[in-house]
């Protein structure tokens, strides 16, 4: 992992789990897999705290463990999974658009808690939904369960690997760590639970209690002593499926931008049909016949079979090659070239970045080199029709930022510079990686900036919070306009302006992430 990514991971872990977990997590990311005692020794934290931190990390699927020979258990951190924490709001928003509030809350609970049993999720979500509903109405468990089942059927949530139930014929000592297994078929199998009940509204007295919760808490825990029917079956959010969904969204919007709405609908239909049948890293989807596509088009679209065929032919002939024709049976077999589509999307992003950073003439040179693969300096000037000096300047600027690279082709074995061809080329993969790395770096910078800004203005933020609370409570008790005015004036105008600027900056930094 690069330094920038490690820095970003450390900031994310610190924000979400605190400093102790951050220390352990970053140490594991830096050093690879290590056993428990070595971690405690190297980080200088007590064994107790290391254990707690590792439990938290394992619960959230950020660390996995493996039993090596001689019974040593080693722990390994998944850096890419830590970076996915950045996308949590997007996952939750996607669930909201697909399955409305219930789905959104289910995914949110699963992401916040790492793994949960189905009954626990259903109960919590029902309680939360009941809070937001009007007085007297409650959310039924059955409705939440239905949404959960739908999420499982479309693979947005999946079962965690579980401890296999072994018969105790083995008299030896139990292994130091359980080996978790999961069968491909069982991953989305929902257990047959009969969850009957309704969401409970939290009593308002609980919210006021500050000094009293201790007394109320043991009672609350005692309620959950009944045996859980699906004990041991944990569910987690299937992040790969969300990524697949984002990829599909990207492809569909690209087609819509390039061609028209109807073709994008056709592509969306094709992608939806192959959602579950195609693995997420396949180069192209399963071939779909034109008849099947016609049958699966959304109900509102009544285009004739002929028109559909014309659209498909157009899509297949497009130079971007999103859709390819793989056969003629069934009215024509069509596939979506996923890898090619993603490559074109990445290239388009690179082009737009060059344009925004260096100007449209640079972008012209960039596109030229992309198209022609390898070009000499003289050829660049000729093809792009840009004067030599400017072309040279732009090329060197892009070269220094690593968007373009140089390929040496020696004429003689001694690689003499005067007798070597220097060709400009664009290596898309490495340029894309460089861009991604830059994005991570800027996110880390933004988080730091946001923390700095919040710390600087902490006093002001607290004051404004208190004033808001006072205003709210006074409005609740029906105060006069004059009194409210007076209280609002507690925050002076320049302070107010400062607050506004702060809010805007913080929002901007969050938004850019």
């Amino acid at each position: 992992m690069t330094q920038a990514e490690i820095k970003l991971c450390s900031l994310l872990l610190q924000e979400h789990f605190g400093e102790i977990v951050e220390k352990i997590g970053v140490h594991l990311i830096r050093t690879g897999s290590q056993p428990l005692r070595v971690i405690a020794h190297d980080t200088g934290t007590s064994l107790d705290q290391v254990k707690k931190a590792l439990c938290v990390l394992i619960q959230h699927n950020l660390v996995i463990y493996q039993v090596h020979k001689r019974g040593v258990v080693e722990y390994e951190a998944q850096c890419s999974r830590v970076l996915h924490m950045l996308r949590y709001p997007r996952y939750i928003y996607t669930a909201k658009t697909l399955y409305s509030d219930t789905g959104e809350l289910i995914v949110e609970e699963l992401l916040l808690n790492g793994k949960m049993t189905m009954s626990a999720v259903v109960k919590k979500v029902a309680d939360r939904l009941t809070e937001t509903m009007e007085d007297g109405k409650t959310m039924d468990y059955a409705e939440v369960s239905n949404t959960f089942v739908r999420l499982a059927d479309t693979h947005f949530v999946q079962r965690c690997p579980f401890v296999p139930a072994t018969e105790n014929s083995d008299p030896g000592p139990p292994p130091p760590a359980p080996t978790l297994v999961i069968n491909e078929k069982d991953m989305y199998l929902v257990p047959k639970l009969s969850l009957i009940g309704k969401g409970k509204r939290r009593r308002s007295s609980d919210e006021d209690a500050t000094g009293e919760p201790k007394a109320k808490r043991p009672k609350h825990i005692a309620d959950n002593k009944e045996p859980i029917p699906d004990d041991g079956i944990y569910w987690q959010a299937n992040l790969d499926r969300f990524h697949q969904h984002f990829r599909d969204q990207g492809i569909v919007s690209a087609v819509a931008n390039r061609m028209d709405q109807t073709s994008s609908e056709i592509v969306r239909t094709m992608l939806r049909m192959s959602e579950i049948t195609t693995p997420s890293n396949a180069p192209f989807t399963q071939p779909l016949s034109s008849n099947e596509i016609f049958r699966s088009l959304p109900v509102g679209y009544n285009i004739s079979k002929q028109v559909l065929d014309q659209y498909l032919t157009l899509l297949a002939d497009d130079p971007l090659e999103f859709v390819g024709k793989s056969g003629d049976s069934g009215g024509g077999m069509y596939v979506i070239n996923l890898h090619k589509a993603l490559g074109s999307l990445a290239t388009a992003t690179l082009e737009s970045v060059v344009q925004e950073r260096f100007g449209s003439r640079c972008a012209r040179i960039f596109r030229l080199v992309l198209q022609k693969k390898h070009l000499e300096q003289k050829q660049v000037e000729d093809f792009a029709m840009i004067p030599a000096k400017e072309a040279k300047d732009m090329l060197y600027k892009m070269l220094s930022e690593n968007f373009i690279s140089l390929q040496e082709i020696p004429k003689t074995p001694d690689h003499a510079p005067s007798r070597t061809f220097y060709l400009y080329t664009v290596n898309i993969l490495s340029a894309a990686r460089m861009l991604l790395h830059r994005c991570y770096k800027s996110i880390a910078n933004l988080i730091e900036r946001r923390q700095f800004e919040t710390k600087e203005n902490k006093r002001l933020l607290e004051k404004s919070q208190r004033v808001e609370a006072i205003i709210a409570s006074m409005q609740a008790t029906g105060a006069e306009e004059a009194q409210l005015q007076e209280i609002e004036e507690m925050i002076t105008a320049p302070e107010r302006q400062q607050l506004e600027t702060l809010k805007r900056n913080v929002n901007k930094s969050i938004n850019r992430m």
Binding site: E15, H16, F17, K52, Y88
Partner: protein
Amino acid sequence: MAGNKGRGRAAYTFNIEAVGFSRGEKLPDVVLKPPPLFPDTDYKPVPLRTGEGEDYMLALKQELRETMKRMPYFMETPEEKQDIERYSKRYMKVYKEEWVPDWRRLPREMMPTKKCKKAGHKSKKAKVTGQGTSLTNPADVLKKIEELEKRGDGEKSDEENEEKEGSKEKSKEGDDDEEDDAAEQEEYDEEEQEEENDYINSYFEDGDDFGADSDDNMDEATY
């Protein structure tokens, strides 16, 4: 190798035309310092994407940050002890739910070592009764003191001194062990009990013989 030095004039090893400078032209200045930290850019960045989705995700992100801090997974660093304990601190503590992981899914070494005081007490009691000594040691002590009173003052004063020493030892041990873990506190308790046991048992056993001997043979030199 003594190559052709161009008859005293510098010659480039590569074709200078290719780089773009004509012969004899003034080359640009050498750069002597790193580029500025925040250079001015000609092209300003594109404005941020706004929209219903983005606004919702922004609010969500802020909410998530707050919620995470209240979850039981957020491990807070233990604060340093302040000089004066503030009264208000008691009422500003945030109460978090306890979270217990599913131990069946984790390696066995993850479980905290079960050495809480209550368990220690029970095991200690079991141990103590197992050894055949009961918690009626004070009664034993008193009985044996009365027995020895009859034997003479010498033993009693010796015994008192030894008791004082024993208690000093115990208190010293107590001071040391207060800083140790509960595990060792349990051991300390056991040791204390054992100390008493050893002290009483061995002392009085020795004392019986010792006292009798020394009283009878006062004239002989003691080695």
